[in-house]
């Protein structure tokens, strides 16, 4: 299937000389949830702004559903809904007129039923006549999402949607994003919360220093880079790892009561049975053992460190 967004050799150099994007190539698949991860200043927002037409690329081309974002900007932009990172709202306006404004701006005739549905889905219907300035931060965030959905976009950009949002609203938003995906909307989100990407995304792209470092299915990424650890809590403390176990990548805790064995999930043989037999042969008993997989967060940190 052809990608809904296709980014080819896109670079952006700001007048200050800052190279915010460096030769980005990226395809976003139709109907997926794509999470763009990266530290502050990595180029996440610049990339989104470039696709949406707020920032002009210095080089390269971008198409949205086959429409070039420059030469065919009307067709391209009308498919996109953007929820910006900043809570930028028309503070003195009420919610409902703002919804109609956004829909009109994107070239759609008024549709009271659709607007009502979007507002109800986001629990904003009761606030439809409230001035935006009177709403809480979380509610303002919902208003921005509602505005972005007012014209029934096929692609939704969520730039740090849950920054500064409480746990309940965050889960509401995740739910909403999943429902949107079920309706066929493609979603691209940037986030600082790695658990968010881990929870939601189908694919993950890591951007740093204006370059895409990795694009991978979430599960593949976690398998590929994920390390598992087996933690053994010992019956008796050890002063050092016995020489016979030197072949195993083992770590002994400073107290000498915990042994940590790190292994690669990709390898066919984890080496665990052999290790356990060896331990038995050395007379090391353990009272507890558990294994854990490194989280996306750890993967992310290691990736960013690597590229720095």
């Amino acid at each position: 299937m052809d990608p809904i967004i296709s980014i080819r050799n896109v670079s952006k150099v700001f007048p200050s000389g800052l190279r915010a994007l460096n030769d980005i190539n990226l395809d976003i698949r139709r109907g997926e949830i794509f999470a763009l991860l990266g530290p502050n200043g990595a180029g996440k927002t610049t990339l989104i702004s470039t696709i949406c037409g707020i920032v002009t690329a210095s080089a390269g081309t971008i198409t949205v559903d086959g429409h070039d974002i420059v030469s065919d900007y009307r067709a391209a932009r009308s498919k996109i809904g953007l929820v910006p990172q900043e809570l930028a709202t028309a503070a003195f306006e009420s919610v409902l007129p703002q919804m109609n404004f956004s829909r009109g701006l994107f070239g759609k005739p008024a549709d009271a039923a659709h607007i009502e549905k979007v507002l109800r889905d986001l629990s904003l219907w009761d606030k439809r006549n409230a001035k935006i300035i009177t709403l809480s931060g979380g509610m303002k965030r919902r208003v921005l999402i509602a505005k972005a959905l007012s014209h029934e976009p096929e692609v939704l950009f969520l730039d740090e949607p849950t920054a500064g949002v409480d746990v309940e609203l965050r889960h509401d938003m995740w739910q909403m994003v999943r429902e949107l995906r079920e309706r066929g909307v493609t979603i691209i989100l940037t986030t600082h919360y790695i658990e968010e990407a881990e929870e939601m995304a189908d694919r993950i792209g890591v951007i740093n220093g204006g370059e895409i470092k990795v694009v991978e299915e979430k599960t593949v990424l976690m398998n590929k880079l994920g390390k598992k650890q087996l933690t053994l809590t010992l019956q008796q403390t050890l002063s050092q790892i016995p020489a016979g176990l030197a072949n195993y990548p083992l770590e002994l805790s400073p107290e000498g009561d915990v042994l940590i064995y790190t292994f690669d999930v990709q390898k066919e043989h984890t080496g665990i049975p052999e290790l356990l037999r060896e331990l038995g042969r050395h007379g090391i008993d353990f009272k507890d053992l558990h294994s854990s997989q490194s989280s996306l967060e750890e993967i992310f940190v290691s990736l960013v460190k690597e590229s720095a």
Partner: protein, 253 residues
Amino acid sequence: MNLYAIRAIYVFEMARTGRTLMQSIASPILTTALYFIVFGAAIGSRMGEIDGISYASFIIPGLMMLSLLGESISNASFGIYFPKFTGTSYELLSAPVSAFEIVIGFVGAAATKSVLIGLLILVTARFFVDYQIIHPVWMVTFLLLTALTFSMFGFIIGLWADDFQKLQIIPMMIITPLTFLGGAFYSINMLPPFWQKVTLFNPVVYLISGFRWSFYGIADVNVGISIAMILVFMLLCLSGIWLIFRTGYRLKS
């Protein structure tokens, strides 16, 4: 042409007028009423006629122009500056609208509002002085052209301004003096010969003179030149806006 977008911007801007009724409608009318009381009723009664027109009637076109210029500029400049200031301009920039459509929406709304104010001032004037309008069609033409042109000028100022002070500085430091010295309160024939020549470099002279001609059939400068001047200024503003959007100046990076 994205007509829905033009309407959305227009409605949004007009709604702003509705929300700030006191500031945007009541205040210019009150100011003008004060001018009529002071210059028309109080001082005007002691002044002689100018070109056969009583002083109070003479200043009506000038006062309307004073409000028209000020309101057009401040409405349009604030209209586009505020979204930049609050950050909501992201939506305008990411929407499938052309620069032309954005301008029609903002400038159209600003011009509508200042024409309304101009007409309200005309009605208000009725309570204080008598006047006639010899060329009503030309009067409306001047009103519309001036409102549109200066709304465009205001739009440019709003795009250019990156703080509130810059938003105020051109209307305050340039437009107000030019209007006061442009014959709003006097005929330029009353000036010494040297200053009559100098004052011809003031574009507002042509606006007020042409506008006054549509009321009373008297003009300081030829009406054709007045119209030509408005059109020239309009073209300048249009090309300025075109250039701004083409280069993305102060709008995008």
